[in-house]
């Protein structure tokens, strides 16, 4: 799917500090429509914080973020209206424990989008089918595997018809044999042209599915470019070092 020149997200000079620790030290980048952007880097370098700042689950200290023409960081913005347009997938799924898979996907449609029950059910079932879980609609989260739970959470986000999907290490909490089914769903999404930002340690996914890769460390972007460049010919020694360590650990990327 081609990446268009329309910019969906623009981030300018984002800063965030927790106590004495500056987690984000001026991060700027843009995401174009249809683009799949991977953010990689060592743990604790602000990748998740960055992602949460985009829909203001975490309030940034400084800097501005736009979703298309709306400034997300403006105090006048209705943040709940913005969040409806941004899907968020969490590392540990965060499914609603008291609701079936169907109700997990349907809740936002009913209570936030105010669809009728019939419309919401129809839409929710479509999304569950899209992630391959239609036959598990009546199961509760505790009755699903980690991979299935994560796919439900992706369906829950997709049902809201987002302009942008944010993935925060979506496979990090999964058993190795369950990672593939989640990555497959994400790959399908990318191929359908969904605009997405993925914080991940899955280098294979970043390399083969994403259009652009950002390597982040200690709160700044160290290197950014197409995967071919970042993975094959990294310009920064730190990037090379990090990728070297990763391939040592996982036996090649």
């Amino acid at each position: 799917m081609a990446v268009s020149s329309n910019i969906v997200v623009r981030i300018e000079d984002l800063h965030k500090r927790y106590g004495n620790e500056e987690v984000l030290k001026g991060v700027s980048f843009t995401v174009r429509q249809g683009e799949a952007l991977a953010i990689i880097g060592p743990s604790g370098t602000g990748k998740s914080t960055l992602l949460r700042c985009i829909n203001r689950l975490t309030e940034p200290d400084r800097g501005r973020i736009w979703l298309e023409d709306t400034e997300i960081t403006s105090p006048q913005t209705d943040i709940n209206a913005i969040r409806q347009q941004i899907g968020f997938v969490f590392q540990d799924f965060n499914l609603f424990a008291h609701l079936t898979a169907l109700d997990n996907v349907r809740l936002g449609l009913l209570k936030v989008k105010r669809l009728s029950k019939r419309e919401a059910t129809e839409r929710a079932m479509q999304e569950l089918a899209r992630v391959g879980l239609a036959e598990h609609a009546e199961k509760y989260p505790a009755q699903l595997s980690g991979g299935q739970q994560q796919r439900v959470s992706i369906a829950r986000a997709l049902a809201m018809d987002p302009k942008l999907m944010l993935f925060d290490e979506p496979t990090s909490a999964l058993d190795p044999e369950l990672i593939g089914e989640v990555l497959q769903v994400m790959q399908d999404l990318a191929e359908e042209g969904m605009t997405m930002v993925v914080v991940t340690h899955e280098m294979g996914f970043a390399r083969s599915v994403c259009d652009e890769v950002i390597f982040m460390e200690k709160g700044v972007i160290v290197e950014q470019g197409p995967p071919q460049q970042v993975f094959v010919n990294p310009k920064q020694p730190r990037t090379r070092q990090f990728l070297g360590k990763i391939s040592e650990l996982y036996g090649g990327t």
């Binding site: 829909n55 689950l57 409806q84 499914l95 609603f96 008291h98 936002g108």
Partner: protein, 238 residues
Amino acid sequence: MLEKLRLVWESLPLLLQGAIVTLELTVSLLLVGLVLGVLVALGQVYGPRPLAMLMSAYERFFRAMPILVLLIVVNFGLAFVANTYQWDWLRLPTFAVAVLVFGLHSSAYQSQIFRGAIQAIKPGQLLAARALGMTRLQAIRYITLPQALRLAIPGWSNEYSGVLKDTSFAFAIGVTELARQGWQIATRTREMFLIFITVALIYLVLTYLGTWLLELVERRVSVPGLAGQRREEHGRVI
């Protein structure tokens, strides 16, 4: 012997009348305590610091008060104020005073049942709700409350059996509930032991029925992975 059984039999209508008052009082106070208790717990967990502190002060105050003292102070306090200022609307029936005082007292205890239940819910679920665009209130209503109320049932059942018996203190301000009915019959007939054994049995039945009913509710609303299945799951492990 037969004579004594006959006395018990003849006392039953009055005792059951008292038991109904006891049940009415228990259900009313539990509902008042439920609403206030949930609000106090929400304030303690989700409220800004000053509100949380205020809620904690409220909860500690009522937990520190002996229920009998509270009943007497409020009952006579209200009557005194009503007389002094000629506020007739403040002349509440003793049953209403009892519901109010027991309700406030129970809300303090119930708040801690709910606080524990709310804090047992992973905050990530609220984050997910907010990420969908829900307001704080929507997240509390659709995510926190349905789970917290389920998790609270076992503790709530305990509260039911506790306050059911506490209501006998309403005796002191003149509510004719089960214990007072028993007392009146016992002094009239001079069969203290016999009548109070009967009263005790009625309390036993009421406690048993109530907790059994709540167990049914608990099972009825149980969700896999949440409260209700726990017994089976624990049994399998140990």
